[in-house]
């Protein structure tokens, strides 16, 4: 080894994605002030950016767990659809059914996460194929049983999407709680430490006595649970779920993009939940900016693809490794 490296454990430093977040924020502010309609820096606009981030943010926090463990979850978009539909279908507009609906969709979510984890670890199926398969399967059952918006959520349930807590919208509180819990689990629990170890090098982790299978299964259960939270939020926001809401939001690929833009390595072992939050906020800021510049949805999409590539390139380009 060359020069001695000072290996102080780095703690609580903000991930580099926040630098991009600050850059995106300032850039959007300047561009909108120069060329856009209205002001960028208004309380309403900032709140809007956060509210926009809620649906993607919650599932992206969960996706961070799968990716950090060196796995991936393509089934989240379909699970979001299943959750949204089942929530409004069971609730049928009656507040008395809220608890039952939530219990059912949470049970479905935990089951799907468990199934994903078991297929990946016990049947040794590549996570991409495993979750693609379970996603197709869920969507198949869902689209066969429901062709349109099903039932309705109770008016009381819509608080989840439209309520406020003082000046703060409830959805933003929800996102904050999910991010805080995610960060807590990832950085302050034994499971979190094990997940980093498994994602860094599964074989080494296994030889050091970790039950790597169990760690990955729990990670997938967390990912699926976060998709259920997003599904509940979408049902509350739309008033009912339809079998296409998850795919329409492209939550599978968007959540993966947010995670990697936030600095989590696709190969696993490096990154964290806070970076993911930054990734999600970057997307929302860009959305808000393009809206105010009036450029339309398609140009936004063109840029988004390049932003994903550029952000990840900024973390990876110094690497000497071969990547496939």
């Amino acid at each position: 080894m060359s020069a001695p490296v000072n290996r102080k454990p780095k703690r609580a430093g903000l991930p580099p994605a926040f630098l991009f977040l600050a850059g995106a924020f300032v850039g959007a502010w300047v561009l909108v002030s120069l060329f856009g309609r209205g002001q960028f820096l208004t309380a309403a606009n900032i709140t809007n950016i956060f509210v926009r981030s809620v649906a993607l943010g919650m599932v992206a926090v969960g996706q961070s767990f799968a990716i950090l463990g060196g796995s991936i979850d393509l089934s989240v978009a379909h699970l979001i659809s299943v959750t949204a539909v089942m929530t409004s279908f069971i609730m049928q507009g009656d507040p008395a059914n809220i608890a039952r609906a939530i219990a059912v969709v949470v049970a479905i979510g935990l089951g799907v996460g468990l199934l994903n984890g078991l297929i990946i670890t016990k049947l040794r199926v590549n996570s991409l194929i495993a979750t693609l398969g379970t996603g197709l399967f869920m969507q198949g059952l869902l689209s066969t049983s429901f062709q349109n918006f099903a039932g309705a959520v109770a008016p009381e349930f819509e608080v989840l999407a439209y309520g406020t807590w003082g000046p703060v919208p409830i959805p933003v509180v929800m996102l904050a709680v999910v991010v805080a819990l995610g960060a807590l689990v990832m950085h302050r629990t034994r499971f979190g430490a094990h997940l980093y170890a498994v994602g860094g090098n599964a074989e080494v982790a296994r030889l050091s006595g970790l039950r790597t299978d169990r760690v990955l299964i729990v990670a997938h259960v967390i990912t699926s649970f976060s998709a259920v939270l997003t599904g509940l939020f979408i049902a509350a926001r739309l008033g009912a779920g339809a079998p296409w809401v998850g795919q329409d939001g492209v939550y599978d690929l968007e959540s993966i993009a947010a995670v990697v833009v936030g600095g989590t390595a696709l190969a696993g072992g490096r990154g964290g939940v806070l970076g993911t939050l930054a990734g999600v906020l970057i997307f929302s800021i860009m959305d808000a900016m393009f809206n105010q510049l009036g450029t339309g949805a398609f140009l936004k999409q063109v840029f988004r693809g390049f932003i994903i590539i550029a952000a990840v390139a900024s973390y990876s380009f110094r690497s000497k490794e071969e990547v496939g």
Partner: protein, 335 residues
């Protein structure tokens, strides 16, 4: 490798010949058996399937997916993914209809432009992955988003215009007067050419061997002198080129629409995996990948005949790809 035949063949005794037959049979990848079983089943339900015209129509419908799977396999054996092919198909279909603008005289140069766009996309995917070290899953995911956005930006979000007959001929017309077969769809001829060229490139050239070496162990490949960047970029160019061909066929077969390419990338990856390719590289055969795509198409045909609604067919596809990969993993562990 399947090409480990002895150089000199001794005159076999009958029982030895039988054993050799059995050995050869056992080496047939399971996907071909599955494909055969499904095809026989379809023929029982619909005797017209087992006729020459029936097989030709089946191959014509399967051709775009099979070509796409062949292209995808180059990237998969190198250890990568190409998620951008679906959006590239959409771009080819929408872009062609925009550029041709109803004048059939434009078709030849528009097709040339589409191939140039495809090559540019492939070079970009490969170069970003090789030199900026962005995992190809992310590079091509970014391209998926960008190309779809670009295609929709170009047409204003709705399918515009129509493709002239001399463009659509590749996807929907047949060459008549072929001896023995009577009529052969152009798509089937194109599929055949692609299959032969792709099999040759992957299994009979130095580039193909370097590609497999790269996917098997990237560091070892680089240290033993494989020009990894060049090899990988060519793989992405092959995949993008296959998407352009598939786009031309799909545009001909089903006309202009904005979602023609949606999900095609996952179908191609599934087909390659069904055909025995290993994700993250190092193993895969071209005949297997093409058979994988044909099997998926045959399965859809079968389930359609059995009266399954489309969503359930998709659902079963999910179960089948998991089952196939789990079976391969199980066989590998046992041996």
């Amino acid at each position: 490798m399947t090409d480990e035949r002895p150089a000199t063949v001794q005159k076999p005794s009958p029982s030895a010949a039988g054993r050799r037959w059995w050995e050869t049979l056992r080496r047939v990848p399971p996907i071909f058996v599955v494909l055969l079983v499904i095809c026989v089943w379809i023929s029982f339900l619909n005797p017209r399937f087992a006729t020459v015209p029936g097989i030709m129509s089946f191959l014509m419908r399967a051709a775009p997916a099979a070509i796409l799977a062949a292209g995808q396999l180059f990237v998969i054996v190198s250890g990568g993914f190409d998620l951008s092919v679906g959006s590239l198909i959409t771009l080819v279909v929408l872009g062609s209809s925009m550029l041709i603008g109803g004048d059939p005289a434009n078709t030849p140069w528009v097709i040339a432009v589409m191939f140039l766009i495809g090559i540019a996309v492939g070079v970009f995917n490969g170069a970003v992955t090789s030199w900026l070290k962005v995992p190809s899953f992310i590079t091509t995911l970014g391209m998926l988003v960008t190309l779809k956005g670009f295609a929709l930006l170009w047409t204003g979000g709705a399918p515009r215009g129509a493709l002239p007959n001399n463009f659509r001929v590749f996807g929907r017309n047949r060459l008549s007067g072929v001896p023995l077969l009577d009529e052969v769809p152009y798509a089937v001829i194109i599929l055949l050419v692609v299959a032969v060229v792709a099999t040759y490139l992957l299994h009979r050239t130095g580039w193909g061997k370097q590609l497999i070496a790269l996917g098997d162990n990237p560091r070892a490949a680089r240290l033993s002198g494989v020009p990894t960047a060049k090899v990988r970029i060519l793989a992405f160019v092959a995949s993008a080129t296959s998407a352009v061909i598939a786009g031309i066929l799909l545009g001909g077969f089903s006309g202009v629409s904005t979602n023609v390419g949606d999900g095609q990338e996952l179908g191609a990856i599934s087909a390659a995996v069904l055909g025995g390719a290993k994700l993250l590289g190092g193993r895969g055969t071209m005949p297997g990948a093409i058979a994988g795509a044909l099997t998926l198409q045959a399965l859809f045909t079968l389930l359609n005949l059995l009266g399954w609604p489309k969503p359930l067919r998709d659902g079963l596809q999910g179960v089948i790809i998991i089952g196939a990969v789990a079976y391969t993993a199980w066989r590998e562990r046992r041996s």
